[in-house]
């Protein structure tokens, strides 16, 4: 079966510290991968998406970056966190390579608090 794992579940980091959130997918090959952020009181915002290894597209310019070192691994990073980076980060995947409008499958999310 297809599953998605995202960790850590919660994270408290000081301003200026680095960030690394990891997401892995099982049970499918060459998935499309996504990072979303849900800020308090706001909707979901697409941050990055990837259609293949090493292929990253950014939707919103900011101090975050994403990488896809392996087919089913998607990492969200920052060199120096800002207070405004606090929020709920969600990884999601779409099975397979050719998009057919199939629904996304979301991970359980990471609640990041930057202090």
């Amino acid at each position: 079966s297809q599953t998605i794992h995202q960790w850590p579940a919660t994270l408290v980091q000081p301003v200026g510290s680095p960030l690394s959130l990891e997401c892995t997918v099982e049970g499918t090959s060459n998935p499309n991968l996504y990072w979303y952020r849900q800020a308090a009181g706001r909707g979901l915002q697409l941050l990055f998406y990837s259609v293949g290894i090493g292929q990253i597209s950014s939707e919103v310019p900011q101090n975050l970056s994403a990488s896809r070192p392996q087919d089913r691994q998607f990492i969200l990073s920052s060199k120096k966190l800002l207070l405004s980076d606090s929020g709920f980060y969600l990884c999601a995947f779409e099975p397979g390579h050719i998009s057919s409008g199939s629904p996304l499958h979301f991970g359980n999310g990471t609640r990041l608090t930057v202090t």
């Binding site: 499309n32 996504y34 979303y36 706001r42 909707g43 979901l44 915002q45 697409l46 998406y49 969600l90 999601a92 779409e94 998009s99 057919s100 409008g101 199939s102 629904p103 996304l104 979301f106 991970g107 359980n108 999310g109």
Partner: protein, 113 residues
């Protein structure tokens, strides 16, 4: 630019009341539409989706949504809500050439027992 709007940010209902959550989208071309739900402490889950065909879509837990192309709308409905429907509901859209979901701002539903 593609966008999805949910005009109700907070909705409070009593049990057995009827529910309708509005969703309007702005997309060129053919669009795929989704409703996701996030129960307290849980991850996002798909409620229902529309790709083509019958514009009235039935989802899980008694939810349904109607695609009205002329109004660019995909409103979510349930005839009789339960306390367990308390959650945040997100409308989302993507064009069928890809699956770059654009989400609405979400509607937080609270059902009073």
């Amino acid at each position: 630019a593609q966008s999805v709007s949910q005009h109700n940010h907070h909705v409070i209902l009593s049990e057995a009341a009827s529910l309708e959550l509005g969703c309007n989208y702005s997309y060129g071309g053919t669009v795929n539409l989704f409703w996701y739900v996030q129960y307290p402490g849980q991850h996002l889950q798909l409620l229902l989706k529309y790709f083509s065909g019958d514009p009235l879509v039935k989802g899980i837990k008694g939810f349904e949504a109607e695609f009205i192309k002329s109004k660019f709308s995909f409103n979510l409905r349930k005839p009789s809500v339960q306390w367990s429907d308390t959650a945040e509901y997100f409308c989302a859209a993507a064009n069928n050439a890809g699956n770059m979901l654009t989400f609405g701002g979400g509607t937080r539903l609270m059902v009073k027992p």
